[in-house]
């Protein structure tokens, strides 16, 4: 419990450093409840996600954290990615499952998700079709990803 408070108090300072320039915002949804967090960050450059702001929803089990890792999903809009389930935003990342150790912080997790966007793990895809397209026709893959991102942004504007 107190570990998450420690992280929270150190977070704003770390966000100010050059290392995390790509994070637009990262804070708990409610100030008195540190179990739900939202993070907005810029899509990494030289990827189809460049120029788009992406959002993550991070849920922390305060009883078990940091022995158990947090749950992370893309929200409010999901992204097209070989390791992301399109309809739910679920992310397949070893760090969030078997490879989790309490030494990682929430910032490390966000960094790892960004790393996944830069370099998809094609050995264990959640979206098999997209992984196939990535392999065979990278340009088509880029088109699909960007189409989905623009579509989602448009939907948001309409609402």
């Amino acid at each position: 419990m107190s570990r998450i408070i420690k992280e929270y108090s150190g977070l704003q300072k770390r966000l100010g450093t050059a290392e995390f320039w790509w994070i637009n915002s990262f804070e708990p949804d409610e100030d008195d409840d540190l179990s739900q967090w939202s993070c907005k960050f810029q899509g990494p450059s030289n990827t189809p996600y460049e120029g788009f702001e992406l959002g993550l929803k991070i849920s922390v089990d305060l009883e078990k954290y940091p022995v158990s890792g947090p749950c992370v999903e893309f929200e409010p809009r999901t992204v097209a990615h070989p390791n992301v389930k399109w309809d739910t935003g679920e992310i397949c990342l070893d760090l969030l499952k078997d490879a989790w150790t309490p030494i990682y912080t929430l910032l490390d997790v966000v960094g790892a998700v960004r790393g996944l966007l830069e370099e998809p793990g094609l050995d264990s895809p959640l979206d098999l079709d997209l992984a196939q397209i990535y392999d065979v026709d990278y340009d088509a893959y880029v088109q699909i990803v960007r189409y989905r991102l623009v579509e989602a942004r448009f939907d948001e504007l309409v609402q």
Binding site: V67, T101, D108
Partner: protein, 307 residues
């Protein structure tokens, strides 16, 4: 990746809880030398079900407490017989210290030195909190850990008679309630559970740095080394280490009489001991059997041959 690292000494932070560590509650994993709070790293081991370091993922063998130089074999941490041995040793140490203190006090009333002060401090606590608990204050190893919640406190009072796993009674009854069972058995091996006897210690100290835990038992450091070396070189005889020790006992008893009379030198003693012992091992290929073989007589005869 993480802001703290194992290298610096000043206000070191535990990577698991992000709190600072003082010397007493700090444990160093070996061989990787990464440091955490002992309770934090134990909680993680319990969850991960292995002894890997959270930082480097290297499998650890021992947890080292630097300030009192105690190495804990992770494999045998939760072991009731060990705890009882610790408790006994602790009581022995304590009695010895008290005797020394009393003697010192009688001898030189006026002169106060630092070591004496340190020895005195726990005595006050002893009266207040019972025989074993005084030792824990500030310096003890917390060795009773609940296998369900991972907490290490003195309300861990149940243990399995078979596999010696330890539990909080409250954790166990909560679990039983959840799965709708009535009989409480060990969650690991389904063995029968017992209550820890009497004045159970909440934590313990080994003061003697020559004592190590090996193969689940408290042992003298040198005897462990001997056994390790012995095991490395496969013995020519099929006689076990324990049997050899017993046989050597006979040979030594017989030889000692010669040695004490001054009729043989030390190096001669060693040579004869070696040869005679080997000869007797050869007689005991089916195991140590004092009924069938008269070791004393055999040893005496063999020694005479050599003289």
């Amino acid at each position: 990746m993480c802001e703290n690292n194992a290298g610096n000494n000043a206000a070191e932070i535990c990577g698991i809880c992000l709190e600072s560590m003082n010397h007493a509650d700090q444990g160093e994993l070996l061989p990787c030398r990464h440091r955490y709070h002992i309770s934090c790293i134990r909680k993680w081991h319990l969850h991960s079900n292995d002894f890997k370091c959270p930082t480097c993922r290297k499998e650890s063998k021992t947890l080292h407490r630097k300030h009192d130089n105690i190495e804990i074999d992770l494999k045998y941490w939760c072991n009731v017989s060990l705890i009882e041995q610790f408790a006994k040793l602790q009581l022995l140490n304590q009695e010895e210290n008290e005797e020394i203190n009393d003697a010192e006090e009688d001898a030189n009333e006026g002169s106060e030195d630092d070591t004496k002060d340190e020895e005195h401090e726990p005595e006050g606590l002893l009266e207040a909190e019972g025989p074993l608990q005084h030792a824990c204050e500030g310096q003890g190893i917390e060795i009773l850990q609940c296998a369900l919640c991972g907490e290490m406190d003195d309300s861990v009072t149940l243990y399995c008679e078979t596999c010696e796993t330890l539990f909080h009674p409250s954790c166990l009854s909560e679990l039983l309630c959840e799965v709708g069972e009535k009989d409480s058995n060990c969650t690991e091996c389904y063995g029968t559970l017992s209550r820890l006897r009497g004045n159970k210690p909440s934590s313990m100290v080994i003061r003697d740095s020559n004592v190590r835990i090996y193969d689940g038992r408290m042992r003298d450091k040198r005897s462990i080394l001997t056994e390790c070396i012995y095991n490395r070189f496969t013995p020519t005889y099929t006689v076990s280490y324990e049997d050899k020790c017993r046989i050597q006992e006979y040979v030594r008893t017989e030889l000692d009489s010669f040695y004490h009379r001054g009729s043989i030198s030390k190096s001669r003693y060693i040579t004869i001991n070696k040869h005679v012992s080997r000869k007797l091992y050869g007689l005991s290929l089916d195991g140590f059997d004092p009924v069938r073989i008269n070791y004393r007589e055999q040893a005496r005869l063999s020694i005479k041959e050599f003289m």
